[in-house]
Amino acid sequence: MANNITLLEAVNQALDYEMAEDQDVIVLGEDVGLNGGVFRATDGLQKKHGADRVIDTPLAESLIAGMSIGMATQGLKPVAEIQFMGFIFAACDQFICHAARMRNRTRGRLSCPMVLRAPYGGGIHAPEHHSESTEAIFAHIPGIRVVIPSSPGRAYGLLLAAIRDPDPVLFLEPKRIYRLQTETVTNNGEALPLDTIFTLREGDDVTLISWGAMLYETQKAAEVLAEKNIFCEVLDLATIKPIDTKTLLNSVEKTGRCVIVQEAAKTCSVSSEIAAILAEKALTSLLAPVMRVTGYDTIMPLFTLEHHYMPSVERIVATVLDVMEF
């Protein structure tokens, strides 16, 4: 059952595993059926689990989120796909005003165990609206969870956890690394926790925290820095909401320095929250300013310039050097 798979295949495998395990899991979205999703994340699922459970919806994001909520109140576990995160806004009203609130507003009588999956992020030379990273918007909303995997293994385990979670989860898939690397993943149905930072590399000098595709550049930067005798601790945030504050603080208390790397725009982002947590709870440990290497507060440019928008290994390295020299 162990196999060498990509992040995309891990998503497919987790969906397949859980659909086989649990009759109530339903996959729905645009082109998820016969076509297997525009990235093939749902490839083969309709054939195997039937068109009743792998539903090609009409082109309507509010419908996709809204009907998932209705299904969830009836005990189904919908895993809905928004084709690209740039098209999630039409689903916001339903997800934010209803999915996030159903349990609370009925004092637990009804709940909303749904997953909203969406590929997100830039770097694949896609058209406008196909490269967005707006996870911060959802992290601000009480009542939902936001999860972003950064490797095949974590994609598999976190998606299983998201589907099994009794509350709504936004599961964002970093499409740039969908097929970038493979990893041996055992298809054994084991879920990962939805509230834990993964420590990818230990180090004493500076904490680098990131999530999703940017961990690729972040880890590269850590390697470059290691050659310069700067030892980075690299954390994968993984669960954007809730944030595992404890692991974060432990690391920064040890290193005294923190650089946050994210692809999204800077203002009011997840990087802001992490820096704020440190300003509030780790001030006396900090040996240097908390620096953020992020996308600019501009619109993700069309693809000829997108590589200038996204944080590069060089920007991360340069920032860490600044922080070390502070």
């Binding site: 009759q23 009743d52 459970r53 539903i55 919806t57 009409p58 309507a60 509010s62 419908l63 989120a65 809204g66 009907m67 998932s68 909520i69 209705g70 299904m71 969830a72 109140t73 009836q74 005990g75 189904l76 919908p78 009203d93 339903q94 005003c97 209803h98 349990r103 609370n104 507003r105 009925t106 004092r107 637990g108 009588r109 009804l110 709940s111 009480p142 009542g143 969870r145 009794p166 509350d167 509230d195 809730p242 944030i243 504050t245 404890k246 509030e280």
Partner: protein, 368 residues
């Protein structure tokens, strides 16, 4: 426009059983066929009177500071009553927020409704109909939930072979302008779901009259966009409402796909207790609307047809008044929730950061 050959024709019909003058149209047999014997008609009457009694009490509570903003259903009791009487317990009712009549018949307790409008989430923890949805404040959004519920019901019936449960969703005339409404119609028709849409056309969306909501002559015709069978009915004619809702549910239950009913009624009250309708509508229009209201109409029919005497009707009123008073007492005696409740129901398991915030709320630490 250029002409050509017709590929498809459509029409919208209007139906009515008890007209504005409390005259029965068509044959008495139609009532029998629908199961509308005297007992049943009196039961419908009772629900309407209870609803109105409750409604006016709720407004009184609001006026005296014992309830928050309240949306009255004055004048709209008939269609909700028909819905409440026709749905099975195992069916699911999806409300907007003005469906008091239907809720009461579903078994929702009056004190629950009061708690809701009194600013307490426990009011949506319905004991009697645990699958029904709570009020949906974002207009038309509930139509999509109904699609998901009906989808689940259809799947369940396929899997278990048990009788098809149905979902019925209500929205207002204003809601028919929202995208969600159309997305729901389209999807429901596509999958031929066991779903009944009822547009409660009370002529107003706060201050916007029906004529400025849509250019279309009927709201029922919006169903044509999705090829859903649709009809316009007199929503103040509880007998006609009952018949039509009955048929629509039967169709939906029988696998004939979604149905749409536009029930024409009138909002005799302000939009809510926070609104002042005098700013935007004439006294004259309001007076004319009062002539068509459903309770007077049905009581007149009951008396005219000698199905009931005035004293029977008075007894019904008296019993309703007592029931409402009892519920109000329970409501007023209800202790507020502890403030920790805002953390308790957010997720099934309270995450660490919220535990910390809760501790801060309890004053165990400052800031958070």
């Amino acid at each position: 426009m250029i002409t050509g050959k017709a590929v498809k024709n459509f029409s919208i019909n209007f139906s009515q059983r008890l007209n504005e003058h409390a005259e029965l149209l068509g044959h008495e047999k139609a009532l029998q066929r629908a199961g509308l014997d005297t007992d049943k008609i009196l039961a419908l009457y009772q629900t309407m009177v209870l609803t109105r009694t409750f409604d006016s009490k709720a407004i009184a509570l609001q006026r005296t500071g014992r309830l928050g903003t309240y949306a009255s259903c004055l004048g709209q009791e008939a269609i909700g009553t028909a819905i409440g009487h026709m749905l099975e317990a195992s069916d699911v009712f999806v409300q907007a927020y003005r469906e008091t009549a239907a809720l009461l018949k579903r078994g929702v307790k009056m004190q629950e409704i009061l708690l809701y409008w009194g600013g307490d989430e426990r009011g949506s923890d319905y004991q009697a109909c645990p699958q029904d949805l709570p009020p949906a404040v974002p207009i038309a959004s509930q139509c999509l939930h109904a699609v998901g519920i009906a989808y689940a019901m259809q799947l369940e019936a396929k899997r278990t072979g048990q009788e098809q449960r149905v979902c019925l969703v209500v929205c207002g005339d204003g809601a028919t302008s929202k995208g969600d409404f159309y997305e729901a119609l389209n999807a429901a028709a596509l999958w031929q779901l066991p779903l009944v849409f009822v547009i409660c056309n009370n002529q107003w969306a706060i201050s916007l009259p029906r004529s400025l909501q849509s250019h279309s002559q009927t709201l029922a015709q919006k169903a044509i966009a999705a090829d859903i069978p649709a009809i316009q009915i007199d929503g103040n004619d509880v007998l006609g409402c009952y018949e039509t809702v009955q048929l629509a549910i039967k169709q939906a239950r029988g696998g004939h796909g979604p149905q749409l009913i536009e029930a024409i009624t009138y909002r005799l009250s302000d939009h809510t207790t926070a609104d002042d309708a005098k700013r935007y509508r004439t006294e004259e229009e309001l007076q004319q609307a009062w002539e068509k209201e459903p309770i007077k109409r049905l009581s007149q029919y009951l008396l005219d047809s000698q199905r009931a005497s005035q004293s029977v009707l008075d007894n019904i009123q008296n019993q309703c008044t007592q029931d409402v008073e009892a519920a109000v007492d329970i409501y007023l005696a209800t202790e507020p929730q502890p403030c920790s409740s805002m953390f308790e129901f957010l997720y099934q398991d309270c995450p660490v950061h919220l535990q910390e915030q809760l501790a801060s709320l309890k004053g165990e630490n400052h800031g958070q």
